[in-house]
């Protein structure tokens, strides 16, 4: 191996000013490397290697010799180390009077990985280099961003909980009227067929009056359980008033099936509920309206139909169900208006 000599006295100065510079002779061989470039190669030496063998030049492209390299003087070079880790680098080359050149290198965006891979510290950069400031900014930004993200997640969690609370009946855990008012119009808009059951308890007032509100609450919870057990996961069960409930049976418009559901609900609701030493007995009346997914029905209209049918059940002596039909409006007009 030939001895590598360079007499350019400016190199020691450059080691401090530009610790990532390399000096090339007129053949394109590296005759000197700044301390940080030397660090990138660890135990290996790049002195004596041709610059284009040590680094792969990505841009400008088709540079394969020292002559073509000199043409790129002053332009931004994009290159990377040929040996692992193949850190991407930026550089700029300026020719020297002896036909050689000096190339100053910098990490560019690869600095974030490079500081770890090469255990770089402040002394590896020139005192005037802004890299340390940039690393500081990146860390400060990441910390602020992380705090921001955590706050966001907390707020989002709180928002979801608040929304859920706003749509939930706290006593029974069922949905409330607000939730139903949100869901029902959407189902009609999407033309999703459904059966709408309006359930009103019979004799609930008596329980409340004779045994107190605590007993009434237990009855309501019992009814809520019956309704949930009588429906499927994608049905909607809501408590819309003191002792009024609405079930939306998703996709079911067969009156017979809906009737069977009502029969079961009435039977189960009628099971006496124990409160202290006594039993509470209530029953239920149901009005059914059906939306077949066609026509220009509105959620409001359907709720009103179910209501009319419910009054017909009440009129029929309670503990029964009625399917809405337009003629009910004539028969029941007195009941509705009172």
């Amino acid at each position: 191996m030939t001895e590598i000599v360079d007499n350019c006295d400016v190199l020691a100065t450059l080691d401090v000013l530009c610790p990532m510079h390399v000096r090339l002779d007129k053949f394109g061989k590296i005759t000197h490397a700044g301390p940080t470039v030397t660090k990138l190669y660890g135990d290996q030496t790049i002195l004596g290697n041709r610059f284009l063998e040590a680094f792969e030049l990505n841009r400008p492209h088709s540079i394969t010799s020292m002559e073509t390299l000199l043409v790129a003087a002053g332009k931004k070079l994009h290159l990377k180390k040929r040996v692992e880790p193949q850190t991407g680098l930026k550089g700029v080359l300026m020719p020297c009077s002896d036909g050689g050149a000096i190339v100053n290198l910098s990490f560019g965006i690869s600095i974030l990985d490079a500081v770890q891979e090469y255990s770089l510290n402040a002394s590896d950069f020139a005192a005037t280099d802004l890299t340390i400031e940039m690393l500081y900014l990146v860390e400060a930004k990441s910390a602020a961003m992380e705090a921001h993200r955590k706050l966001n997640q907390r707020l989002q969690g709180a928002k979801i909980a608040a929304e859920e609370q706003a749509y939930t009946d706290t006593l029974t855990g069922l949905k409330n009227r607000r939730a139903l008012d949100h869901i029902l119009p959407r189902m009609v808009e999407d033309r999703t067929p459904f059966g709408l059951l309006h359930v009103d308890l019979d004799f609930f007032k008596e329980v409340n009056d004779t045994k107190g509100h605590a007993a009434g609450d237990i009855v309501l919870q019992h009814v809520a359980k019956v309704l949930v057990d009588s429906s499927r996961g994608d049905d909607v069960v809501a408590r819309v008033g003191g002792d009024e409930f609405v079930l939306v049976i998703n996709g079911t418009i067969d009156p017979e099936i809906l009737g069977r559901i009502c029969t079961r609900i009435i039977k189960e609701v009628e099971r006496p509920v124990a409160y202290k030493d006594s039993l509470c007995k209530v029953s239920a009346s149901v009005g059914i309206a059906i939306y077949n997914g066609e026509g220009d029905a509105s959620a409001e209209q359907l709720m009103d139909d179910a209501d009319v049918a419910l009054y017909a059940s009440k009129h029929d002596g309670r503990a029964t169900y009625t399917l809405y039909a337009p003629k009910l409006r004539e028969n029941n007009s007195l009941a509705i208006n009172h």
């Binding site: 961003m145 993200r149 966001n152 989002q156």
Partner: protein, 195 residues
Amino acid sequence: MHGLVNRAIQCFVRDSYGLSRWLEVTRRAGVEVTDFEAMLHYDDGITDNLIAAAKDVIGVPEETVLEDLGTYLVTHPNVEALRRLLRFGGVDFVDFLHSLDELPDRAKLAVDDLDLPSMEVRQHSTETFSLTLKGDRPGFGYVMIGILRTLADDYGALVFLEHRGAQADAEVIDITLVEQAFASGREFELGARAG
């Protein structure tokens, strides 16, 4: 999907077509959320549904929706900051093109959980380039076409862009630079921060 992406779709539809059209898109997409948070993550399916719904509501092909979204991202005054960040990439359009290699890393520098498709720019001659995008979800290439077309105007360059279609897991865009300095372009000063 990163909230920034859904947020971008939201702002694009809202600012270009009005709030009621945006609400129609969310309804049609079956999405409960109407106001996406930029720094939260959402199910990937939501993004797909939003784009499919936007296509129907606006009444143009999906590619057009995506391309217009790209254009929106670098033209609308509401998102001026993004145009500026992209202009940091280079002093002229070719320089900018080459900076796209680093775009996913630069984006990560700003938002570290944002995964953009990887991008590779190849220069085939002085005036022909190709951009290869690799990611798990095709379609981003059309967004890039909107961005590139607008940025070319921004730099005052005249370019032809062609989406070569998705190949395996990659999308390729052919870029032909007709004239680097065709028009004067828009000014860009490093120090002029976007409001």
